[in-house]
């Protein structure tokens, strides 16, 4: 299984590494975060993920930097593995295309990670902000991140917890959102009589933690530590959400234990050149 799913382009090992995975989600926040990390830290590609459950896509030079005279015409595929020289215990995996089957992909991928003996998996994703709990609709709304952790090891005292709201905690919250008549995303009609009597936290968790993220967490059980970080957002200009998630990850995972050094260092956060036409190219002058 290992040789089929992952094709290395050099000497690379997953053993005892922290794998940071960006998956397709609302606004592609996971992908944006990984793009930002890869571009800012000049990560090198070390392999390709070849899965039947990821749709194919190819393109040239997403991280081309004219200042470093990087050669042009380097093709990139839909799922790739990168490493950062200054963070040797971490591998970055970016998935750039939709996944056709969450369940089958998660099973295949989790088996591969287990056989590769990784240390832990961090999944970067996003969820629709309409599923926020009421206690989240207070204060700043731009960068709410929630954590869903499968096996709680190694992060109990991590600063990352200061930035997140925990879905796992039991919190009593008001149920007034249930009194709205229409859910704008699914067009379902809610009323108190129609909703099953589940705790609100459980309902929100079911809505937020879904798809590939949910399947990966379930498949990680008894195999390796896994954490899912979700940014709550709507689809639009999600680059700030991606940047926020990347910053969060770099502080607490990429450079774990070196936060002070990171803050003092002269890191230049750099978006990839492929973000240039994120919302389309310039208008055709022939229109005028």
């Amino acid at each position: 299984m290992t040789s089929q799913l992952f094709v290395a382009s050099g000497d690379v090992s997953f053993e005892n590494k922290t794998v940071i995975l960006g998956i397709p989600s609302v606004g592609n926040v996971g992908q944006l975060a990984l793009d930002f990390l890869i571009s800012s830290f000049n990560a090198n590609r070390v392999g390709i993920i070849d899965s039947a459950y990821i749709l194919p896509v190819v393109g040239n030079d997403p991280y081309y930097d004219p200042n470093t005279n990087t050669k042009k015409g380097i093709a990139h595929t839909s799922a790739e593995v990168f490493e950062i020289k200054s963070a040797p215990d971490v591998l970055l995996i970016i998935i750039r295309a939709p996944i056709t089957s969450s369940k089958l992909f998660a099973t295949e991928f989790a088996t591969f990670l287990k056989e590769s003996k990784i240390n832990r998996l961090v999944v970067l994703s996003s969820a629709n902000s309409s599923w926020r709990m009421d206690n989240m609709i207070r204060g700043g709304q731009s960068n709410i991140v929630v954590r869903c952790q499968h096996v709680g090891t190694g992060w109990t005292n991590s600063p990352i917890l200061e930035h997140v709201v925990h879905l796992d905690q039991e919190e009593k919250a008001e149920l007034d959102y249930l009194q709205r008549n229409v859910n704008p995303m699914t067009h379902e009609t809610h009323s108190i009589q129609n909703i099953p009597s589940l705790p609100q936290e459980e309902t929100s968790k079911q809505k937020m933690v879904r798809g590939v993220g949910k399947e990966l967490l379930e498949n990680a059980k008894d195999k390796f530590d896994a954490i899912l970080l979700l940014v709550l957002c709507n689809e639009g200009d999600n680059t700030p959400h991606g940047v926020h998630l990347a910053h969060l990850v770099s502080l607490d995972i990429l450079f774990e234990g070196q936060v002070d050094k990171l803050q003092q260092s002269n890191i230049q956060w750099r978006p990839p050149s492929s973000w240039m036409y994120l919302f389309g190219g310039p208008p055709a002058t022939s229109l005028y």
Binding site: D50, V57, V58, D61, Y64, A75, S78
Partner: protein
């Protein structure tokens, strides 16, 4: 006329935010996609596999039209195999609509026909059927299982409206994406970021990258409303020398383009 109403399913790339299929539905959709059949002509394959140095595949639309006009209709070729992909009758996405309409008027029922040139180590393939996203993996696997090639050229097009650059582009315009094992030549301009290619072209190129096979994807700029001769002419200077075909004068694209006119349904929504 039998009118059947099907529920519209969003395609995988365009699925609206928040609309997710249940895990079982996703698995059913994948299981519906059977691998294509691959049939060699009698006496062609040795031990079920054909070995060649170069395989040039023209994909549905501009690529297949160029292969038909500039190669199959112009030089002597020998048919060696046919790949046929069944499509599910329950799906109503864009690619399936295209296949149903085109198959009604097409006299060639071979969805991907592979020919050998005078030099039997050079093959050309005319892939006239649009392969859906879900089918691309199996299609690519089947091709590689039956044809062993040392180098691959894929011919496809990119629509003018989807081509994102900071200048106004018109056909003829050719861009390329190559695998890391393929040496870049000065005559080929790489496709500019952030333009991407999906579908069968992407699947073939990705597989070649995985298998470390030198491969080139050539993309010719195509106008949205109609496929024209300029789009096909853009391939000539690069592809014909690679296939060792001498250019004996202007190539007749009109016949093939005229046949396509009635079948073009890229923007037709039934």
């Amino acid at each position: 006329m039998d009118i059947r109403l099907h529920p519209l399913e969003p395609s995988d790339w365009n699925r609206a935010e928040g609309i997710e299929l249940e895990a079982e539905e996703e698995i059913n959709r994948i299981n519906e996609c059977k691998p294509p059949s691959f049939v060699f002509e009698e006496g062609v394959s040795k031990e079920g596999k054909y070995e060649c140095d170069l395989l040039c595949i023209g994909l549905c639309g501009a690529g297949a039209s160029f292969v038909r006009s500039a190669v199959i209709n112009s030089v002597q070729v020998k048919k060696i195999a046919v790949m046929h992909q069944e499509f599910s009758s329950n799906r109503l996405d864009e690619e399936e609509i295209h296949n149903r309409v085109s198959n009604k008027t097409s006299t060639d029922k071979g969805d991907c026909t592979i020919y050998a040139l005078e030099d039997p180590t050079i093959l050309v393939a005319e892939a006239s059927q649009k392969i859906t996203s879900l089918q691309t993996f199996n299609w690519t696997q089947t091709l590689i299982k039956n044809i062993s090639f040392k180098r691959l050229i894929i011919l496809d097009s990119i629509l003018q409206s989807q081509y994102q650059v900071d200048f106004e582009a018109y056909p003829p315009l050719l861009r390329s994406i190559t695998t890391s094992k393929q040496q870049l030549t000065k005559s080929l301009i790489p496709l500019e970021a952030p333009n991407v290619v999906e579908g069968l072209a992407a699947s073939l190129l990705s597989k070649c990258e995985v298998l470390s096979i030198p491969a080139t994807l050539l993309l010719s700029l195509e106008e949205n409303h109609i496929l024209e001769g300029d789009t096909l002419r853009a391939f000539e200077s690069v592809v014909l020398p690679s296939l060792k075909i001498r250019n004996k004068g202007p190539i007749d694209y009109k016949t093939v383009l005229a046949a396509l006119k009635g079948r073009r349904v890229n923007s037709l929504f039934l």
